[in-house]
């Protein structure tokens, strides 16, 4: 192999292993986070409401907001959708920190929901490891390395087309593992390039504020103000009879099409200067931009509207849309889910190959033990930790104060325990933790499937998903982590 080839292989293999300790958990949680609303539904153990019309939902939400939030200057209504079959309402002063409630979509009665970290935990962990801006730097660095690893992988593996048709499952352990790494890598390469590139673009706002400094004196808020039009006005303190919200909804649907409105924001309800803003749904287009129209609350006249975007903003938001996959419905979500997990598998097999080679060369020294331990915790431990989070969600008392914190702590505690266990058990940890992760996931899904009782397609889907993840983990632990696999 040429000097250049060796250098790139060293970068790909060693860098790949170290960063895979972060990238595998990021890919696993990111794949799970594709189903964020469904997971939140599962974790709050909400009841499933049959579908209702948007007009009906808005009327129910308005009645409830009139009771609980009459004096609040801002209301928000999230209309039911197929993914979130309930009405979400919020009221308060600051649109970012509202009091929130979930209403049953057909009757409008408030639902008892559990306090939980929710599906958002997975998105949050995926994006910044729950560390805030420093976490976004770390994840951004891992993503940039991932891009370089993909490019160097292609450069090393120049017999790409040839090997695409070659899987040799019986050709000896090392060769067939390398086949899995190469074949899987080639199959998901377009997805990995896309998802990693767009992820790095999204995080760049935090780690690369060069343009913000050059153009906006480092002020992030100014960028949004430059591209998203806002239509607001001061309250008049004159009470006025306002039109029912369903009238505004009908006017908005005349613009965006039937079922085209996803949420409403009402500013200064009951005031002469009240405004009703309707946001268009974003789940039927690639670019994650939401058109919006604002009506005068008393007369129903259009106060302002934004349907056109700066082309560069639109392109940028298309990259965001490609990453978060709100478009395309269930088919795209499952495609993202499996592609993401396949990406994690490719990384895991690459790491295992390097570890195996090193073990043959230098024997089981202490360094090897820790390299193995980190790899095992990142691959098996993350599944156990995710499963434990969901188990804690269902097992912790429903009225426990600070439930979300306990759930999060369970996740990190189990993850740390998996690292310690792996460093203690050495080689045997792979199989033990693989089986443990499989059992946690499968039991979590199966028990809820049996005990859940009520007829709820979303909850059943999540249960089944976990059960299947458990089965796949179990069969792959048996296949891959046999003692002789190393």
């Amino acid at each position: 192999m040429s000097r250049l080839g060796k250098a790139l292989l060293g970068l790909h293999a060693w860098g790949g292993m170290v960063f895979s300790w972060l990238l595998i958990p990021i890919f696993v949680t990111g794949s799970i986070a594709v189903f964020e609303p469904e997971l939140t539904h599962w974790m709050q153990t909400r009841t499933f409401s049959p579908p209702t019309t948007p007009a009906n939902a808005v009327a129910l939400a308005e009645a409830r907001l009139g009771e609980v939030g009459a004096s609040a200057p801002v209301w928000r209504i999230q209309l039911p959708s197929s993914r979130e079959p309930h009405i979400g309402i919020g009221w308060g002063t600051n649109p970012r920190r509202m009091q929130e409630e979930t209403l049953e979509a057909t009757s409008g009665t408030p639902m008892a929901t559990r306090e939980t970290a929710g599906g958002h935990f997975f998105t949050h962990f995926h994006a910044d490891l729950l560390l805030g801006p420093p976490g976004r730097w770390i994840v951004g660095a891992a993503g940039l390395f991932m891009l370089a690893a993909l490019v160097s992988g292609v450069l090393i593996h120049h017999r790409l087309i040839h090997d695409f048709f070659v899987l040799r499952p019986r050709a000896g352990k090392r060769r067939s593992w390398l086949d899995v790494h190469n074949l899987g890598g080639v199959a998901v390469l377009p997805f990995l390039l896309m998802i990693t590139y767009t992820g790095c673009v999204i995080l760049a706002e935090t780690y690369m504020p060069a343009a913000t400094h050059a153009l906006y004196e480092g002020k992030h808020r100014a960028i949004r103000a430059d591209v998203v039009k806002t239509f607001e006005r001061r309250r008049s303190d004159i009470a006025a009879e306002t039109l029912p919200l369903s009238d505004h909804l009908a006017a908005a649907e005349a613009i965006f099409g039937p079922g085209g409105v996803s949420s409403l924001v009402i500013r200064n309800p009951g005031d002469r200067a009240g405004l009703v803003q309707a946001y268009r749904r974003v789940d039927d287009r690639l670019s994650a931009v939401s058109e919006h129209v604002t009506f005068d609350a008393t007369t129903g006249e259009v106060f302002g509207m934004q349907r056109d975007w700066n082309p560069m903003t639109f392109a940028y938001r298309t990259q965001v849309g490609l990453h978060v996959a709100h478009f395309g419905g269930p088919a795209i979500r499952w495609l993202y889910f499996f592609s993401g997990l396949l990406g994690a598998l490719v990384m895991a097999v690459g790491t295992l190959l390097l570890l195996r080679k090193r073990r043959q060369k230098s024997g089981p020294d202490p360094a090897q033990r820790w390299l193995d331990a980190f790899s095992c915790a990142s691959l098996c431990g993350i599944w156990t930790a995710c499963g434990a989070l969901l188990a804690a969600n269902h097992l912790l008392p429903a009225d426990l104060a600070g439930r979300p914190d306990y759930e999060t702590r369970t996740f990190f505690f189990v993850w740390l325990a998996s690292l310690l266990h792996a460093s203690w058990r050495g080689d045997r940890a792979w199989r033990e933790q693989g089986v443990l992760a499989a059992l946690v996931c499968a039991l979590c899904g199966a028990s809820d499937l049996v005990l859940g009782g009520v007829d709820d397609p979303i909850r059943r889907g999540i249960d089944l998903g976990f059960f299947l993840c458990g089965l796949v983990l179990l069969s792959s632990s048996r296949r891959f982590f046999r003692q002789d696999a190393h």
Binding site: G10, L144, F145, S152, A210, T212, D226, M312, Y316
Partner: protein
């Protein structure tokens, strides 16, 4: 007998890490950051686009200089080249950006 075979086995120099690998890692991270920052500054200074267009355009380019420098840092045949080239390029671009 004083043939090469009787000499103690030569150990791999322990300085490889500090002399060869560390500069490359620094070049990959700091060099990449410097080049990306200066490239964006240059584009923001010279491209005839509106402010939001510039921001959202350059935002989409961020990964490219990083990946280029990262690969260069390990592909360069000598460590000093790995460090010097990206930094020199970044300094040039930043100078051109400031000239505006």
């Amino acid at each position: 007998m004083n043939t090469p075979a009787s000499l103690p086995p030569r150990r791999r120099p322990r300085t490889t890490w500090a002399v060869d690998l560390l500069p490359r890692i620094l070049a990959a991270s700091l060099g990449g950051y410097a080049l990306c920052w200066s490239l964006i500054s240059l584009l923001c200074a010279w491209l005839p686009l509106s402010k939001p267009s510039l921001w959202f355009f350059t935002g989409q380019l961020v990964p490219l200089p990083f990946v280029g420098v990262l690969l260069w840092a390990f592909a360069a045949s000598r460590a000093w080249q790995a460090v010097a080239y990206p930094l020199a390029l970044a300094a040039t671009l930043q100078t051109l950006a400031v000239l505006r």
